[in-house]
């Protein structure tokens, strides 16, 4: 029972977690580790990059965008803590030459350095130097490749999933972009779905299975 199923050990992890929490202003209660320092602290540039990328995925509209609600820092925290299986060792067959430089000792992927590398490479230099339209085009290409039929599994799908989680579990994403009703009080089993009706972030079964 003491073995971790992910193959990832505490020493690898504790490096960085507490310092990261401080840097991001995460409530200390959420982070119980005490051995700061290490390889997983994001650079300022990586932190800016993921904030920007999250906003390209979920831009502001009549409701706030991902950057407005701090989704980038949620993704940094989530990756450091391995949410959505992001600290699970990659299967041997999945490790391509492009992923190899970003593999940790425990076999898992450093998602942020990988994303930074991919976007800078696609941009032919500094991704963040381009205007929003060009950054959107570059990211859309990366996304299209990852979601193409028959595509090899891409780390982007996990990053994108965490961006969605960060946004739709934020107060604006959960209760303005979507509807949030903690106490419905009743069960209406068959009502008309009118155009424009928004989904519920508080439909927990749909969140799990939808």
């Amino acid at each position: 029972m003491s073995e971790s199923r992910s193959g990832w050990n505490r020493r690898d992890f504790t490096a960085g977690a507490a310092l990261l929490a401080m840097a991001l202003g995460i409530p200390a209660a959420g982070v119980k580790f005490t051995d700061p320092g290490g390889e997983d602290l994001p650079s300022d540039r990586q932190r800016n990059l993921i904030a920007d990328v999250s906003d390209l995925v979920i831009p502001p509209s009549d409701t706030p965008g991902a950057k407005d609600v701090g989704v980038g820092d949620f993704v940094v925290l989530a990756l450091a803590h391995g949410l959505s299986g992001t600290r699970t060792p990659m299967a041997a067959g999945m490790v391509t030459a492009a992923l190899e430089p970003f593999r940790r000792r425990d076999g898992s992927l450093r998602h942020l350095p990988w994303l930074e590398h991919m976007l800078d490479r696609a941009a032919g230099g500094d991704f963040l130097r381009h205007d929003r339209a060009e950054r959107t085009r570059l990211l859309a290409a990366l996304d299209a490749e990852a979601f193409a039929q028959g595509a090899l599994p891409s780390p982007w799908t996990a990053i994108k999933g965490l961006i969605l989680t960060g946004y739709y579990t934020s107060e604006a994403g959960g209760s303005q972009e979507l509807r949030y009703e903690l106490v419905p009080g009743k069960w209406e089993w068959d009502i008309p779905l009118v155009p424009g009706m928004r989904a519920f972030s508080s439909d927990w079964t749909a969140v799990d299975f939808g």
């Binding site: 119980k32 831009p59 799908t157 959960g174 009080g185 068959d190």
Partner: protein, 564 residues
Amino acid sequence: MTNDTQFDAIVVGSGITGGWAAKELTEAGLTVLMVERGRNIEHQTGYATELKAPWEMPFRGQGDAALYAWEYPVQMLNRHFNEFTEGHFVNDAEQPYQKAPGKDFDWFRSYQLGGRSLTWGRQCYRWSDYDFGANKRDGFGADWPIRYADLAPWYDKVEDFVGVSGAAEGLPQLPDGRFLPAMELNCVEQAVRERIRAKYPDRVMTIGRTANLTEARPEQGRAHCQYRSICARGCSYGAYFSTQSATLPAAKKTGRLKVVTDAQVHKVDYDAKTGRVTGVRWIDTRTGEHKVAYARMVFLNAGAFNSVHLMLNSASEAMPRGLANSSGVLGTHIVDHANTMAAMAVMPGFEGRTSFGNRPTGIVIPRFRNLDRLDGDGFTRGYSFQGGALQGTWTRGKRMGGIGKDYKDALHQIGPWTMVLVVFADSMPRASNRLMLSRRTDPRGVRQLEIAFEHGKEEMAALADAHREATAMLTAAGGHVIMGFDRPGHGGTSIHEMGGARMGWDPKTSVLNRMSQAHDIPNLFVTDGAQMSSSACQNPSLTYMALTARACAAAVSMLKEGVI
């Protein structure tokens, strides 16, 4: 109460059956000590995360995956385990158990006042004579020494108190109970019910029978369900049945109940001269102190495997193989429903319709195999489906390509209807599926439990059939099946682990008699899942409750008559 270590009865455990034992015994006039190994959780004020939104949680309700990987590697596999509910599950690192080499068992546990009554799935089904007669019919396991008629009045009694909503269907394999008004099927489920009935006249899809109140119970201080479907956080409305919401207040009201928490019972004392148990010993898990209390009888309600564990750990010179184990079958013939998602389908044709509220139950398709005719291919018992129809929300975006405004706008729309059928199949009682004491000890020095369990070819055959039938039914109902499985998850996955101290007619081949009383020790009763001689394919908790109420009545009469 004149003495704080001497009681009429001691109840070990405070979950679904411990709560019932405490209620029934105190209401009959007995003084009772209830001993719970976990922490106290007060009804209402103790449900710390009940009203929190995801944005008020450090990890947005998802939880700290790093913490879970080290300290909750088993519990984290439970669908109901998340950042809101983690406090209602054990820390696996602090509560270790062993698995036999090469065998897996995911043991989901809740050590706290109320036990798993706080986190249970709330599904309440009567068993029928197809179930109580199953062992005799195909020869697996020992014949149940009871039949449906023995239990029917006790089902009535517990349903009246619990509050079970459901629809009467008149099915012999799933007898109707005393139901509160049913929650309605949604529009897709109503259509699927009719389409299945048209093609398969012997198959019924009905609303899941659930211990959520559709009518308030003011006399119990319980409000009607608020349709939140976050039950496992704890419900301050008291709308679902738990120890805290229902049985504990009733027992406390008598003035004859004492509760001690943070108390890990490690031994039941047995007096070889009188042939009786005399009390229990525990470790105060906060101070490490060893304590003892005495009683005229003992009820084990620690949870199926924990009650067996305690009996194995209570071996003595007079009973070297374990308490009440002259038969040698203690620990054997454990069962757990073989369980998997048999089919998932997209359900077109309902695009203009939706629902409001989160209904805390799904549907059930009761068993249709091996009833009066043995029509299973490679299996002799049954399976049933649970599940339901739902519409997606934002999480479907994780599987969708696209970024930007159009993508964002697509995700705020209510998603398409899908329908899921999850199968639960009978688990065959086998001597080789068993519990033993490990040589390893837990952090408090108590020998750990070792679990040896695997599903066999009968379960595989049932799940293969269930996968075919689920696919056929959803297709016949107009759905496009997109996925489905025919292999079970690890043992433990359905959280219906049972057996190990089975009931039977013969003291040489069973641990308990037909009143849940140890053959070897007249003042010892085991009324949780440990007593089960077979698994059926229904959720078992309602049957545990009925058996507990029945055993309590018998024990009280025996005590009054001076038999024990």
